[in-house]
């Protein structure tokens, strides 16, 4: 588990090897400077001040002072360079990870999105990525610097007096225990708190999205209570972290002072044959102070590291699930599609438990138009999802122009299928972009598409015309207007197969007439599949497939089916009666 995390950190850091090496080398320089500083002061105290002289040989105290200042200056400049470099690296890692995550969500299949709430993905792409970056921004540089510092200080201390050094290190085991315990606790805390954060964010996203419903049903109070509960859970989950953070400096100060006291006592009481030498005491206490600075920093950073580790694992929990990614590259590219669709003994279930389609077989000839009819939930939309290969079937095969769609490149397959849903999705972009959808389509073609789809009247009634920017999800447009745009999309992209899923359900008669015109144009030329509840809209299709609970109960054209007096004729008569 830990190993995996380190491996992931390594993978993220790899592209930044150069920066890291430079930063480490720079830290080495800084550490040397840090080490020399107390040594210079020791020389001044022991060789100059205690002797009461200003100059020894050609070296004056002033010169030593100048060297000291130079070291400080250079140290600061180097520090500046290396922290700029790490900050940039941190931002770079945010950038890369965010792009990787977004790419994943775009390439992930529909089953992945079915089971992953959008709020969770938001948290991964925003908060978690940022939590990871602080590992690189705040910890990495100081970590190498600190490790080097600690090593150098230990070496120098040993050089001055092994005995005193060993005495000062008595507190080390204590510190090690603290860090191990801390790592464990913090990991648990952050794991839990991030789970709650995801929950909280999912809740927030959904509540904002559903704010109208919340108002209509007066459930603000309930929603507020839920928000407060989640928020409170989140706060409480972070509380232990805060306590530890508060406790830590105190513990470290105690450890440090214990070490210093040991040195002073040893010198004062001449233990272990150590004599009282002011300069030596000064050097040692300073080195101990200097030693504790990086140690404290490292222990402080355990928090950041654990927080980042938890986030890294959450991010990779998504990225590592390659099985949800769609292969959009391989497979046969279709240039020309005639539009013959065959279902051969297709069995399908969303959850591998409940069969939604049972042994379904039918054929749609090129250019034919068919309608799928049946009660809600009988599997009509599912069939269109399968033709697009949004889900994989468990048994049987689906063929397009005689080719199993499993062997067709997904991008190419979907390019040839145009679907219009009951509530078409509109992006918060211009109408032109909404019709174009990043494809390579000229302005003339778009104009033509708008004309064909009878959307001209609506588009020209907008102040910005085709360059009018739609509101998020197209909320300022009526269902009918969104449909017109969806049809313009179809005309502009000109797919070979056309699917209309309950598109005419809640539309006024005027718009419906416009849409019917589009439908007539399209269905004359293309293989078309209609799903409609208003049976009147589908009476002219070549073949009606009547489904019940995932099985075909009847198949034939309108008149044939009426004559047989089966399920369809009952449906139709009920529909007809409802109009009387």
């Amino acid at each position: 588990m830990k190993n995996k995390t380190w491996h992931r950190v390594y993978e993220m850091a790899k592209p930044h090897k150069k920066t890291i090496i430079i930063v480490v080398l720079l830290s080495l320089l800084i550490s040397v400077g840090e080490m020399v500083k107390p040594y210079l002061i020791k020389i001044v105290i022991d060789d100059y001040l205690s002797m009461g002289i200003y100059q020894k040989g050609i070296v004056t105290i002033g010169m030593i002072g100048a060297i000291y200042i130079a070291i400080v200056l250079i140290g600061n400049i180097i520090d500046f360079i290396s922290s700029t470099a790490t900050n940039m690296m941190g931002e770079d890692i945010i950038y890369t990870m965010r792009n990787r995550l977004f790419k994943y969500t775009q390439n992930a299949n529909i089953p992945f999105h079915d089971r992953t709430p959008a709020g969770k993905l938001f948290v991964r792409i925003t908060n978690d990525v940022e939590d990871v970056s602080s590992l690189f921004k705040d910890v990495l540089t100081t970590f190498f610097k600190d490790i080097i510092l600690i090593t150098v200080i230990v070496v120098i201390m040993c050089y001055f007096s092994i005995t005193l050094s060993m005495l000062s290190f008595i507190v080390i085991p204590f510190i090690v225990v603290i860090s191990i315990v801390l790592t464990r606790i913090l990991n648990k805390i952050y794991d839990k708190s991030k789970k709650i954060r995801t929950e909280l964010n999912t809740f927030l996203a959904e509540s904002i999205y559903g704010s109208k419903l919340i108002k209509i049903f007066n459930i603000q109070k309930e929603k507020q209570a839920e928000c407060e509960r989640l928020n409170n859970d989140y706060r409480n989950s972070r509380l232990p972290g805060g306590i530890i953070e508060g406790l830590l400096p105190a513990l470290m100060t105690i450890a440090e002072n214990v070490a210093v006291s040991i040195i002073i006592w040893t010198c004062v009481y001449h233990w272990f044959g150590i004599s009282l030498e002011v300069g030596l005491i000064y050097v040692f206490t300073t080195y101990i102070k200097q030693l504790f600075e990086p140690i404290t920093r490292i222990i402080d950073n355990i928090e950041v590291v654990q927080e980042a580790f938890v986030s890294i694992n959450k991010i990779y929990d998504i990225l590592d699930h390659k099985e949800y990614l769609e292969d959009l590259e391989s497979g046969m590219i279709l240039n020309e599609v005639k539009g013959k669709i065959e279902f051969k003994n297709v069995w399908f279930s969303y959850n591998n438990r409940d069969w939604i389609l049972k042994n379904l077989s039918f054929t749609i000839e090129p250019g034919q138009s068919i309608a799928l009819v049946g009660k809600t939930g009988c599997g009509k939309t599912t069939i269109t999802n399968l033709i697009n290969r949004f889900y994989e079937i468990q048994q049987g095969e689906i063929l397009l122009d005689g080719v199993n769609i499993k062997n067709i490149n997904k991008r190419s397959l979907r390019q040839h299928i145009g679907v219009i849903l009951q509530d078409p999705f509109i992006f918060a972009r211009t109408l032109k972009d909404n019709i174009k959808l990043n494809a390579n389509i000229s302005d003339e073609e778009i104009q033509e598409a708008i004309k064909l789809s009878s959307a001209e009247e609506f588009v020209s009634s907008l102040p910005g015309g085709i360059d009018e920017v739609a509101k998020e999800r197209g909320i300022s447009f009526s269902a009918g207007q969104k449909q017109l745009l969806a049809f313009a999309r179809i005309f502009a992209h000109n797919p070979s197969i056309f699917v209309l899923d309950e598109a005419t359900a809640n539309i006024d008669t005027h718009t419906e007439a416009l849409i019917q015109k589009s439908i007539d144009i399209i269905s004359k030329k293309k293989t078309s599949i209609f799903i409609a509840h208003r049976l009147a809209t589908i009476v002219n299709v070549d073949k009606i497939i009547v489904l019940d609970a995932g099985e075909i109960v009847e198949m034939g054209n309108h008149l044939e089916l009426l004559k047989t007096g089966g399920y369809y004729s009952k449906l139709y008569n009920a529909y007809y009666a409802s109009l009387q």
């Binding site: 089953p111 079915d114 089971r115 992953t116 709430p117 999912t202 959904e206 999205y209 559903g210 109208k212 419903l213 108002k215 209509i216 049903f217 007066n218 459930i219 309930e222 929603k223 839920e226 969303y350 959850n351 438990r353 409940d354 049946g374 009660k375 809600t376 939930g377 939309t381 599912t382 009951q422 509530d423 269902a479 309950e502 359900a505 809640n506 539309i507 006024d508 008669t509 419906e512 007439a513 509840h533 208003r534 049976l535 009147a536 809209t537 009476v539 309108h558 009426l562 449906l571 139709y572 009920a574 529909y575 007809y576 409802s578 109009l579 009387q580």
Partner: protein, 202 residues
């Protein structure tokens, strides 16, 4: 409808409920007295139970069951492994458009409000299911005020009063039969819808 619920500001002296200006009714009471079912089938990613009772306590299992039965979605729910406690989105569970719509409609049957509004809420239902739900809605609306917004004659023809709007203005008002006699907009509308089915029958 958005105005009736004061989702947008309403000028004084324009909209009244039981003779009272809606601006003088506390927002909470106003919205409590109206049950508005919108056309976007918005479901929270929680259990179906919460989605029907909308996080309010004090409903018994029996009442919830009854309301899903009335909305004709009970059988669909029973088929799911966890029934009414199925959590949407978990384990890849999702509903078809019509199922969502009926879950949303069940809210109306559970709600105790005296004013019911259905805003194009039957569009994803097949004709039979729709008629069954509508019958239950009629039953429910017996002692209540009920407003149905729809483009389908079949949804509205039994209403006490039908208001025909065009471009934001009321063009006609009356019952199905009186409106048909007037041969106005409503009649045209009716003819269009029945002509298609008529044509198909012959």
């Amino acid at each position: 409808m958005n105005l009736l619920l004061r989702l947008y500001p309403v000028p004084k002296g324009k909209i009244f409920i039981d003779g009272q200006d809606i601006n003088s009714i506390p927002l909470k009471d106003l919205r409590d007295s109206i049950c508005y079912i919108t056309q976007d089938n918005f479901l929270f990613s929680t259990s179906l139970r919460e989605n029907v009772k909308l996080f309010k306590d004090g409903y018994e299992d029996k009442e919830i069951k009854e309301s899903t039965k009335n909305a004709m979605v009970y059988d669909d729910i029973e088929k799911m492994k966890n029934g009414i406690d199925t959590i949407i989105g978990e384990d890849g569970t999702n509903l078809s458009g019509g199922q969502k719509q009926r879950v949303v409609i069940s809210r109306a049957f559970l709600n105790k409000s005296n004013i019911l509004i259905f805003d194009d809420t039957f569009s994803a239902l097949d004709n039979r299911t729709e008629q069954l739900v509508l019958n239950n809605v009629k039953e429910l609306a017996k002692n209540k005020t009920c407003i149905i917004i729809s483009n389908r004659i079949s949804d509205i023809k039994d209403a006490d009063k039908i208001i025909v709007l065009d471009g934001g203005n009321i063009v006609q008002e009356g019952t199905h039969n009186t409106l048909l006699k007037q041969e106005g907009k409503y009649y045209e509308f009716y003819k269009q819808q029945s002509a298609k089915s008529e044509m198909a029958l012959n």
